[in-house]
Subunit: 135 residues, 2 copies
């Protein structure tokens, strides 16, 4: 009963995870997921490595920085973890997301207002420029 432990080269890993080869190399460089090397120096990734890379991919999609991904990954791999720690990270991240949204919505309102007042066309008078200049 052999334990099958696949070793994938970076191109295969890219296809399996949806990450770019460049990203995977980058994660290697910064020590996030390193895998092994074969005799020729090619990077080799195990199933567990693939899982880690998928995990990171998901975290990135949720907007976490690589530093946070690092942290989350170590919590994910640690059976002694406390859910509260993960929760705190997520809550902090959510707060940042909310801040960004708030800021962008103000931009949105300001832009919409200016655009609404600008009649466009060939004239040089422009409510948008006026708005920017008077501010």
């Amino acid at each position: 009963m052999a334990i099958i432990n696949n070793q994938f080269k970076i191109g295969q890993v890219a296809k399996l995870t949806g990450l770019s080869v460049k990203s995977i190399r980058y994660y290697h460089d910064i020590g996030l997921v390193q895998g092994k090397r074969n005799e020729a120096g090619y990077r080799l990734y195990s199933d567990a490595d693939i899982n880690s890379l998928n995990f990171i991919h998901q975290c990135r999609d949720l907007g976490f920085s690589l530093e946070h991904c690092q942290h989350l990954l170590s919590l994910n791999n640690n059976q002694q973890r406390q859910a509260e720690n993960v929760r705190q990270l997520a809550i902090e991240h959510l707060a940042e997301v909310n801040q960004k949204i708030t800021k962008l919505e103000k931009l949105k309102r300001d832009l919409e207002q200016m655009i609404g007042h600008c009649q466009g066309g060939k004239q040089s008078k422009c409510a948008i420029l006026d708005g920017i200049n008077k501010a």
Copy 2:
């Protein structure tokens, strides 16, 4: 009847515009607002330069990239401009802002949902990690 044309040094300009000295130098380097130099090589800015810097500051606050700021500034300084061009830039920028908002709101929902399901505490079971892993 002398025409008063003040020439400000970079530190004064920083105070007048609210920009950092570093930013002003950077705008100089990339050719955005250059002013003059005195004999000692110090940068000197006129009232018109200050206006341009204020204009850029406002555009930055509206989230425009420096490249867009450049473009808007040249439209602002061009009496032959057509308001439509400005309007188009603003509309495109607004579209980008809206895209970002949409993306962030999806992140917000996803994060809130996961956080809502995570009970936290000292246990290792964590709905957030589960959510990331299953995705």
